[in-house]
Symmetry: C2
Subunit: 669 residues, 2 copies
């Protein structure tokens, strides 16, 4: 069977294939089936009009094309990096400047994510020039692919002859995973199947190499990713064997004898000579069903749990679900920033000790919050549950999109919750994983809004948008009108081709203390229809049916568990899904002097001309004054205090104006 | 002239030589002239009975003898370190364990400080075995010394032929300085002049090598130390040329063309290829009289300012004094921990930005606080002034002696003001500068108690002690009886051989809000006799004259300047000269939960059996409770609060019991 035959010929771009039906499975709507406007529309447009092109250009500048193009000489291991242009040099914190770059073993993954971003962007907005460039990249991969299907620019161009010898460290299957995701997205967005065929051919080779059968390798990747990618590939091609391969990688992880030990010995290396010291780093310290703590590299963890959730959904595997719920509890009750950021430490790019959540040194990688969105959205595959959707929303609106500037041109790798002014957005990074990751997430946001089962649609996110889907063969269009996240009023219009019975699940966010629901003007008693944080309305829907959901959006103060030493005596402000911060540009410097009285009134104010249009929060706070401190550092009398108005802006929008201090957790007084 | 001739034959150990008389100069009493008892007596005994031997043994274990002994093979650049003994391996944070050690270019300095500590200890308590070992070390240096007087184990044994080629980085004169200090102390304590003669011979060579005259090098050391050592050598030998050489090094520092630039070029090196990037690191960025910010490596800075203060005193040089006062202001109003710790950053082992005083990551090297004691005590050379003595006392009782365990066997390199329990005392360090530095300071504490001019004695520190000195040819004995620092009552008895007129200066500490003074039972109006924080009593003193000073010792709360973001909303406790901290062992864990109400009564309680006998402080504080936080990290309701008794102990005594958390700055509520 050739690769092109392996794609179900009956599927069309944007539709799922012919897999066996899992029970209760909700699958996200493919990106092309949802048009977003409003808040997310602006974000998607920024990616489609700027970021997508920037990603490609930066990859070229970083000489990534040289690694994948078999018509050029191999770049070798270290290549000099381009000289910075003056405006790059002027960008504070720009790590692009004056450095050299090492050819990276994971550059196929950056191409994969760049292709994926371009795909979603092309769907949003034609860009023939970009499409041509991506086609050329795909052509290079086509030429690069070996006759047996193998495809890795690193192992073919930089370390030939060493394929499949170091899964622990070398990102080989991880790269395959991202190219698969890029292939699926490009196929869905453009209908072009060349990369999809290439990747099916490669996956066929992988499936011949790895698996439970005698003679096959019993390995899996040190950096998870291929698992969730194989699920996507299985869904778009209808090929069960791709799904089974994903399950194999999940099931095999952490089994004894440990594959990474055996693989190291086969290389003639000491398995203990492992840079990261512990297999917790790659969540391979024990079989996945035995895991109960989120450990190690945060992005890897999120990608693993995402794959586990997909497999739990597709196979109805409750043993995985039980493990996932334990891990979810561990993450969300002990190891999560209020922004949805995760992984406090730069040392392992991941988790440390429970309740260790430093604010100024928070790593909280953009990719990790993006990964949390992936995981949470996949937990919704097992049915609507606000436990997961609330967290997805928190990570989406805060710790992930903080990683992308409002205009789509600059990035954060780390997302601290406190800065003295030295943390600023950069143009690129020597490990450029975050820019294409946040870009592909934003550009595919529509697929996180909704998920669909055989007879139900779940609405997880609110905001101006239109979704098109099909239930029992009937085409349905659902349109939301809402100024969310600035306002909690949501008006939904449902337009089925013909009257159709299905359940509409509407999320009632945890942040909302008072919600009201009407269907065609008639109030619905939420108490009687709500389960797992979703109101479920089952009826025969007819053209023009109207659902009105009114979510009261008040200002919230958040206090942290007293175990979190870094937040004790502090308070964070939120409104709806948004966490707020104070920035130096709105508040005279030295944000540490701000103390917010518990009695302070907090005013929400629409600012249409600020930061692309936001709601700010303001209050009268107290600040210690400097007067009387000229002659010393310490004295027996406490400092005098004055009143000072403070203004907070949404956290995701910080560092889009003058660089300066930023603070999420204000002193509580 | 030979070296032995260069020592004034008329001087006896413990007396100063025949230098020209500077105006107003107060010089510290030599160590053998002061016996301390009580608080400092216990500390000195710990050094004399344990630390002095430990220093020697650790130097031997680190194979430092091999570097200085010309009868053994040179150790080469890297030598394997000894295997740790089981109890060493068991010591948490012990950096001695399982490592290799690099032969260090500054090991002569560690020998110098070890000899100096041994000297003071031998004066305190005979120890024939140790004296014999030190004599053998001195013999090795005698054999090592080259015919022209040059003496450096590094350059003679490890890098022969390269002497005086890299003053910037290689500690060559710094090592000479510490050997000089060791020689002076050993001579004063034992009367043995061999090392003194060796060092005079070496200094004669240095004086022939460096100086303003044509053909001499215009250099100075990248690590200051030799300057203050030369002042000591001049004082003990009466040789003005040693004083002049010290002044030359001070005056020459930071002049243009920059010596370190020229020296680098002479080595064929690029002066810009300087690891530490800026000459601020070694305070050689500009001439010393133009300096107005404390910058760079904190120990180097303190040693430079100490030397500058000595030269200002000896030459009556007000241009230096003006610079020193600017630097003093900068240090004490912007860059000082409340413990007297200085230098917050491990990166440069020194200063960062004004008001940047992180508590948990404070470097606050023991050596730096010791250096602050050195500097402050030398500022007193220009006359009694509590501005300096208060700071000397603060650093002595807190940030310096915190570096030595109560029993004299374990050490701190860093002295943070907050610990989560992972910061523990160690047996040794690969850069073992702090153990002998704190040991020599403690063992010579008597010389910080008093300073003497032609017709005055200043009492800077209080505590059980007896001093013997000579004013206008009359021997005088002064005895303090006091339970200081636990109690502020000080009784002083003066026993001159014959009635003698002189001024007795008594420090009135800044922490004391109410003091009373009586001379022979008659009250003295302090307002009329106090200047610069010292009460001055001039009279003809007769045998048995009694001075009673009563310093009210209350509990103080300290608040930090609001510029210090790390301390805002926090309070530190003090009593008399002592800063307090809370430790986990006295207070259930999670010290971050403690908030001390402003209204809380704080009780002082004598605890004779705790930590060698201390006064503790206790109060009823408030703590956030965990109840109700099982299901999440963040919630809109603030945590409930309960009352909890807290107990604080003196900061210097922390980590002498069970390892655990520690905190100086408590939340203020």
């Amino acid at each position: 069977m050739t690769a092109s035959q392996s794609v179900s010929q009956g599927t069309t771009p944007g539709q799922t294939g012919k897999l066996g039906k899992p029970r209760l499975a909700f699958r996200p709507l493919p990106v092309p089936q949802v048009d977003v406007r409003g808040f997310w529309g602006d974000r998607v447009d920024a990616v489609a009009t700027r970021t997508a092109d920037i990603l490609y250009e930066r990859c070229v500048e970083a000489r990534m094309l040289e690694q994948i193009d078999p018509d050029r000489p191999s770049p070798g291991v270290v290549i000099p990096f381009h000289s910075p242009s003056p405006d790059e040099a002027a960008t504070a914190g720009n790590e692009f400047t004056g450095s050299t770059v090492t050819t990276q073993m994971f550059w196929d993954s950056d191409w994969g994510k760049t292709i994926e971003t371009a795909a979603y962007s092309l769907y949003r907005r034609r860009n023939d020039a970009l499409e041509k460039k991506i086609d050329a990249v795909i052509d290079m991969y086509g030429k690069l692919q070996q006759p047996d299907g193998y495809l890795s620019s690193w192992y073919q161009r930089i370390q030939p002859g060493l394929r499949w010898t170091n899964l622990r460290d070398c990102h080989e299957l991880y790269c395959a995973g991202h190219l698969i995701e890029g292939a699926v997205a490009y196929y869905q967005a453009t209908g072009k199947r060349k990369l999809l065929d290439i990747m099916c051919r490669y996956v066929d080779h992988i499936a011949e190499t790895f698996g439970p059968e005698p003679g096959k390798k019993k390995g899996y990747c040190g950096h998870e990713e291929v698992e969730l990618a194989l699920v996507k590939l299985a869904r778009v091609t209808g090929q069960q064997k791709y799904m089974d391969l994903a399950r194999y990688f999940i099931d095999q992880r952490g089994q004894q004898p440990h594959y990474f030990d055996e693989e190291a010995r086969a290389r003639g290396a000491d398995p203990r000579a492992y840079h990261f010291k512990t297999y917790e780093y790659s969540q391979s310290h024990k079989p996945v069903r035995d895991q109960d703590k989120v450990v190690g590299h945060a992005v890897r963890a999120m990608y693993l749990y995402s794959g586990m959730a997909d497999i739990a959904t597709e196979y109805g595997d409750d043993t995985l679900r039980v493990a996932l719920d334990r891990l979810w509890d561990d993450l969300t009750t002990k190891n999560l920033y209020v922004t949805g950021g995760i992984g406090p430490s730069s040392h392992n790019e991941g988790f440390t000790a429970d309740y260790d959540l430093p604010n100024d040194t928070a790593y909280a990688e953009t990719c990790a919050s993006v990964g949390l969105v992936f995981w949470a959205s996949r937990m919704l595959g097992m049915g609507p549950n606000a436990r997961y959707a609330d967290m997805m929303e928190r990570a989406l609106y805060n710790g992930s999109i903080s990683g992308l500037s409002l205009d789509g041109s600059l990035f954060f790798y780390e997302n601290p919750l406190e800065s003295r002014g030295e943390h600023n957005r950069w143009k690129w990074h020597r490990c450029p994983c975050c820019p294409p990751n946040i870009a592909r997430m934003v550009a595919s946001i529509g697929s996180y809004f909704y998920s669909l089962s055989d007879d139900a649609l779940a609405v997880h996110l609110y905001g101006n948008s239109t979704a098109r889907f099909d239930i029992a063969g009937t085409q349905i269009e659902l349109t939301q009108a809402s100024n969310y996240p600035w306002d909690g009023a949501v008006s939904i219009t449902i337009e089925p081709e013909a009257p159709t019975e299905f359940t509409l699940h509407l999320r009632l966010p945890a942040w909302c203390r008072k919600a009201a629901l009407k269907v065609n003007g008639e109030a619905v008693d939420l108490g009687s229809v709500t389960n797992d944080g979703y109101a479920a309305i089952r009826r025969e829907w007819r053209k023009g049916d109207q659902v009105e959901l009114d979510l009261e959006m008040a200002v919230d103060r958040f206090y942290a568990n007293p175990e979190v030493r870094q937040d004790i005596g502090r308070v964070a402000l939120a409104r709806g899904p948004l966490i707020y911060c104070v920035e130096e540009t709105d508040n005279a410097g030295q944000l540490h002097r701000i103390a917010l009285p518990r009695t302070a009134q907090i005013e929400a104010c629409e600012e249409p001309n600020l930061l692309g249009g936001v709601v700010t929060l303001s209050a009268v706070a107290r600040k210690e004054v400097f007067e009387g401190w000229d002659d010393g550092l310490y004295r027996p009398e406490p400092p005098a205090v004055e009143e000072a108005k403070i203004t907070a802006v949404p956290y995701f929008a910080w560092d889009n104006r003058d660089p300066g201090e930023m603070l999420v957790w204000l002193r509580d007084s």
